[in-house]
């Protein structure tokens, strides 16, 4: 069966999935399979699945607004400082245009698009399990300060505060946002929504120049415990990872290949934007924790609370981070 990769560790820990290590670990295809997927498909050095589908986050930028603001549309920002500088210039254009987008009420949107800014800045977010420390590294506070400054400087729309994920996919295509963290799914959506908009894709940067990261999401193929058809499932996994399927099924439909060595193909070459977003697979990661929903994805969880306090209040950031850390540790230690 296919399952959201982010919850795989929980099911692996509960021994609800078939251990496939002896059947598949020697496959050469797995050497180039998405690192994020393989991380969460592994539990205590045992392998439980292979990638089924990949989503990655990247920085989408509006080339038309870049040109209007006097920025080079072929030179996207490579650091958060540059994002700020560019955003200031784009916001100065006025007319309801803002330089950046920060979803205020959506935990998932934020781990997808703000999480990589923290990773790219050398910091860690989630607690993997009992005893593990969350929110480690100076990058956490630096990125939170950066987001607070972006909000205070007026570089994001006020309405971003209400975004709970329902209209997230429509924001970039509106043409009113200069730069935005979003996913590969937005290439087609933005083209449908705003066919005349010229846009580019870059990697989500960190504090330091040329640092970058991405959130690798998507699904795994796994086998539930008790299945009578493990062999058939394994054959299907082999089929999915084959060269032919990677190119003629995934790439042809402009879906990301789940093997990084298959990114160079004729279909992606005809679609440079897809090729650009595929680069995110090489710098991407997937959070690994047994309590992802409660720590990160929950609307009542500490991750969203921390971000909302950083974006919209003047609370001391050390306190904000400490409070979130304590809550995430409590959850992870259950």
């Amino acid at each position: 069966m296919g399952m959201d990769l982010i919850y795989a560790p929980q099911f692996e820990d509960a021994q609800q999935l078939v251990d496939l290590t002896d059947r598949i670990s020697a496959w050469p295809e797995l050497k180039t399979a998405s690192k994020g997927h393989m991380t969460v498909a592994t539990f205590e050095n045992r392998l439980y699945g292979v990638p089924l589908y990949a989503d990655v986050s990247a920085l989408f930028y509006n080339k038309d607004l870049f040109k209007q603001a006097g920025l080079d549309p072929e030179k996207p920002p490579t650091s958060l400082a540059e994002v700020r500088t560019y955003a200031d210039k784009i916001t100065a254009l006025g007319g309801g245009v803002k330089g950046y987008y920060l979803p205020g009420n959506c935990a998932g949107c934020n781990i997808f698009t703000v999480g990589p800014l923290i990773w790219a800045s050398g910091a860690k977010i989630e607690a993997a399990g009992p005893g593990d420390e969350p929110l480690v590294g100076d990058g956490v506070k630096q990125v939170l300060q950066w987001t607070r400054d972006m909000v205070k400087s007026g570089n994001v729309h006020e309405g971003d505060r209400t975004e709970n994920g329902e209209t997230f996919h429509l924001q970039f295509g509106s043409g009113k946002v200069g730069m935005m963290g979003t996913g590969n799914f937005n290439i087609t959506l933005a083209r449908q929504q705003n066919p005349k908009m010229d846009f580019g894709i870059a990697l989500l940067p960190g504090m330091a120049p040329n640092s970058s990261a991405s959130f690798i999401g998507g699904d795994l193929v796994v086998v539930p415990k008790g299945s009578d058809r493990v062999d058939d499932a394994v054959n299907f996994m082999k089929f999915l990872l084959s060269d032919e399927v990677q190119v003629e099924v995934y790439a042809k439909a402009l879906n990301l290949t789940t093997r990084s060595d298959m990114v160079e193909n004729k279909y992606f070459e005809a679609e440079p934007l897809v090729q650009d977003v595929a680069k995110a697979l090489t710098v991407g990661r997937t959070p690994y924790t047994l309590t992802f929903f409660e720590q990160i994805n929950s609307p009542q969880g500490p991750w969203l609370k921390m971000l909302q306090r950083a974006y919209y209040t003047d609370d001391n950031l050390d306190t904000v981070i400490a409070d979130a850390k304590a809550a995430m540790k409590t959850i992870a230690n259950q």
Binding site: Q10, F11, A14, Q16, G104, N105, C106, H157, E158, G159, R161, T162, N164, E166, T167, L170, Q171, S174, F293, E294, N297, S298, P299, Q300, K305, Q308
Partner: protein
């Protein structure tokens, strides 16, 4: 004696389908929930007995009581709106005329839409960037910039949700009140007219007392529905800002399913169910007392 036993068996035979239905869809799930509340169970691991631990945890869980307090506040505000509004609408459409019949139908149509669909519709209407409400208010000059209706200010969010729920359910109360009003014999209306009663006097001294039972039933249903509110808050605010619009059932849902704590969720559900039962009993006792 033969006929008594036979008629007894016949009665049981007629009752059996309903009894089976109640056993399967009410008694068994309730018993199962009670059992779950005494266990630690994630659904993907075997359940383990923990006695009253879940209940002890629930009573010490600040977030649950904050959510419960918010749910009570929401219920206290929306219930009078639905009852008074529904009753006034029923009075308005109680006489037969084409316009009144059209009004009756128009007000009732949203009742048949699912609450989830209605909430999604209103989420989009209230959307800051794409919604029609802000657009209309700005075009009419009522506001100069978009209002952040959902997920920023708890009170504004609650009022927006109350508006959406009122639109959806007020027709239900209207129809029930309408039935009760139209059941009053015409002679009573005529007698009050002959006595020189004004419209207001007829409503307060004749119609309202004769429809009081229906008012109390509708109030009870409305209170229970509001105490169990979930869909509209899940979809429209997801409990934001900062969990200030998270209702009790929202919290029960999060614990039971995404957090995989079925046992704890069951304990929270039991506390909620017993509270609602207590409210219901008090309300029924007050109703009986008022009739006595």
């Amino acid at each position: 004696m033969y006929w008594t036993r036979r008629s007894r068996l016949t009665g049981i035979a007629y009752l059996t389908p309903a009894l089976l239905f109640v056993l399967a869809f009410t008694a068994y799930p309730l018993a199962r929930m009670v059992w779950m509340s005494f266990h630690k169970w994630s659904l993907i691991t075997p359940p383990s007995w923990v006695g009253l631990d879940n209940y002890r945890r629930a009573f010490a869980d600040d977030q649950f009581w904050v959510s419960f307090g918010f749910t009570l506040k929401y219920t206290a505000i929306i219930t009078p709106i639905l009852i008074v509004g529904g009753y006034l609408l029923a009075l308005l459409v109680s006489r037969g005329s084409p316009l009144r019949r059209l009004t009756r139908t128009t007000v009732f149509i949203p009742v048949v839409i699912g609450l989830g669909v209605s909430s999604l519709l209103w989420y989009w209407l209230f959307s800051t960037d794409f919604g029609l409400i802000n657009r209309a208010l700005m075009d009419l000059g009522v506001i100069s910039k978009p209002v952040l209706w959902l997920g920023v200010d708890a009170d504004v969010s609650m009022l927006a949700i109350i508006a959406s729920v009122t639109w959806k359910v007020i027709g239900f109360g209207m129809i029930l009140f309408l039935g009760a009003i139209q059941a009053i014999p015409t002679e009573i209306h005529e007698a009050s007219l002959v006595d020189g009663a004004s419209w207001w006097q007829r409503v307060t001294r004749v119609v309202l007392p004769l429809t009081l039972r229906t008012v109390l039933v509708v109030t009870l249903v409305s209170v229970i529905g509001s105490l169990l509110a979930f869909d509209q808050f899940y979809i429209m605010t997801a409990g934001q800002p900062q969990n200030e619009t998270a209702t009790s059932v929202f919290y029960v849902y999060l614990n039971s399913f995404p957090y995989l704590r079925l046992g704890y969720g069951a304990a929270l559900s039991m506390i909620l169910a017993l509270t609602i039962l207590a409210f219901t009993v008090v309300q029924l006792l007050l109703t009986r007392r008022s009739h006595a």
